[in-house]
């Protein structure tokens, strides 16, 4: 366990000091994107990994928070109000959607979340009075918390890193808590949990709200990062992409979704500069992960490393 803790500490230290050793705005921005998607993936992982509920509508919730902020800023409100209202609207949407989707589990849950996500995408596309339709909404300025302007890419990266650390810490505390452990129980043996006195539905509902909150935080980071939001962000492909991040990295682990986010963002942005068919590369990587490490590449790498160590000792 000790080497893996050291590795995590080293990785966090590297991320914290990234703008110092990573030269170039392009790469710092990619690092920001990775952290934003990592927060998003951590949010989805609460459902996929710990509750055993697969959602294909999370890009919709991500988009609600982003649109909420963009709309209010365009209407002349301040950053504080916009951020708070963006979070509130997205969590409220989660509360309604969870109530609908939790009528089912398994495939039923997936289909309902998919439908709800598509409704939000459709609204973003068609409700032109609010969303400006296909043209999207631009965000003119980034906030300046405690007087520090986030306009520059390094400052924005630092702020994103702080939010990411908080989201990671919240997830780490959550999974070890009695509630997190109960949520795991509802994934493995829902019927048994009910017989033991747990309110399975309510546990799942609260997990949805937590997942929605993390997703909304990521959505707000995203809209400030791109300074623009359009219906594309809410498309089914975005929901599928973040789901792939969670699953490829390792659902039900803390580091898996983060590593998955890094993998997808890097292949999408960096590899695409060299390979025209980067989608093919990403697909090939996913296939390899599914074949060799079906549990995801973070737990998979740990497993293979242990096997290697054992073989080396023998």
């Amino acid at each position: 366990m000790i080497p893996s803790r050291l590795a995590v500490a080293a990785a966090l230290a590297a991320l914290a000091t990234l703008p110092l050793w990573m030269s170039g705005v392009f790469y710092v921005n990619i690092a920001s994107q990775i952290l934003i998607y990592a927060v998003f993936a951590l949010g989805l992982n609460v459902l996929v990994g710990y509750a055993g509920l697969v959602s294909l509508g999370h890009a919709g919730l991500f988009g609600v928070a982003a649109y909420g902020v963009a709309y209010l800023l365009a209407a002349g409100f301040g950053h504080g109000t916009a951020i708070f209202a963006g979070l509130a609207v997205a969590v409220l949407a989660t509360a309604v959607f969870a109530a609908l989707a939790l009528r089912a589990t398994g495939i039923g849950f997936i289909m309902i979340t998919l439908a709800l996500g598509q409704i939000l995408w459709g609204l973003a596309y068609r409700w032109i009075g609010v969303t400006n339709g296909d043209n999207g909404i631009s965000v003119a300025t980034r906030p300046a918390p405690f007087g520090v302007s986030l306009a520059g890419s390094t400052a924005f990266y630092d702020a994103t890193f702080v939010v990411f650390l908080l989201a990671l810490a919240a997830s780490a505390v959550f999974v070890r808590s009695p509630f997190g452990v109960s949520l795991n129980g509802t994934r493995d043996q829902p019927r048994r949990m009910n017989a033991l006195g747990y309110h399975v539905w309510m546990i799942r509902y609260c997990a949805c709200l937590f997942s929605g909150l993390l997703t909304a935080i990521a959505g707000i980071l995203f809209v400030y990062y791109t300074e623009f939001i359009s219906p594309q962000t809410l498309a089914l492909a975005s929901s599928a992409e973040v789901l792939l991040m969670v699953i490829s990295g390792g659902s039900g682990t803390l580091l898996g979704p983060i590593a998955g986010a890094a993998l997808v963002v890097i292949v999408k942005n960096v590899a695409s500069a060299y390979i025209e068919r980067w989608n093919l590369l990403l697909g090939a990587i996913f296939v390899a992960i599914v074949i060799f490490m079906p549990e995801g590449f973070v737990p998979g790498t740990i497993r293979l490393a242990r096997l290697g160590l054992r073989a080396a000792k023998a």
Partner: protein, 245 residues
């Protein structure tokens, strides 16, 4: 007041009547054995009492409290615990975690998303005590997936006892056990204090007979014979069901 009062309980799956007007009265502290061949409706009766199935009609009363319309989780809080015929434990977790989950189910702490569960000394100590009771304290840190079938049966019982129930439903506690393991489990059940009322299902008469004062024989969803051990064994209808004579 009866510990458990079941009156005219009916349940059909489509055209199949699985329990037909079953009435049962169990006194506090009693050890009741329900026997009957496969398909007699014993497990369905348990599922109705525990709340995993809704009856079509009839009433279930636990210590004077009507449970008929309550979900299982509420019944657990009212002092009803059960074990399962097909073991439904948490395979990825350790024995200690399994029992801790059982204890947590009745504690308000289960809603807490902030504290680390592993540091809840009191709860962990209670879980260890429950494992001690079934002789598995030394395996507390072992993942459930790495334990034997007999050990899992005992974990089932530890989880049920950990909740300190007033009424304990045991669904075939001896199924699939070796002779030696059966003896251990039987001793375990004998050691349960009389503050706990026990209703037990068994498919096989011989093993469980010694544990019960009163025995109910079910067949095709109906109660055929009920009485003391001697009465039931002597009854020709019991022999008819079991020997087909």
């Amino acid at each position: 007041m009866s510990a458990l009062e079941v009156s005219r309980l009916e349940k059909s799956f489509g055209g199949l009547r699985v329990t037909a007007a079953v009435s049962l009265s169990v006194q506090p502290g009693e050890r009741r054995l329900i026997i009957g061949p496969n398909g007699a409706g014993k497990t369905t009766l348990f599922n109705l009492i525990a709340g995993e199935l809704r009856p079509d009609s009839g009433r279930i009363v636990l210590f004077g409290k009507d449970l008929t319309r309550l979900p299982s989780r509420r019944r657990a809080h009212l002092g009803l615990a059960r074990t399962y015929q097909i073991i439904t434990l948490f395979p990825r977790d350790t024995l200690l975690r399994n029992v801790t989950l059982s204890l947590l189910g009745l504690a308000p702490l289960r809603w807490n998303p902030f504290l680390p569960l592993d540091r809840q000394r009191g709860l962990i100590a209670q879980a260890e005590a429950a494992l001690e009771r079934v002789g598995l304290r030394h395996l507390a840190a072992r993942p459930l997936a790495e334990t034997s079938y007999g050990e899992r049966r005992r974990v089932e019982i530890a989880m049920a006892l950990a909740q300190n129930p007033k009424l304990l439903l045991l669904d075939e506690p001896f199924a699939g056990l070796s002779l030696e393991e059966r003896r251990d489990v039987a001793q375990l059940l004998l050691d349960i204090p009389r503050g706990v009322t026990i209703v037990m299902i068994e498919h096989d008469m011989d093993v469980a007979l010694d544990l019960a004062e009163r025995i109910t024989v079910m067949h095709f969803g109906e109660i055929v014979v009920e009485g003391s051990r001697a009465e039931v064994v002597a009854d020709p209808r019991t022999r008819e069901i079991y020997l087909g004579a």
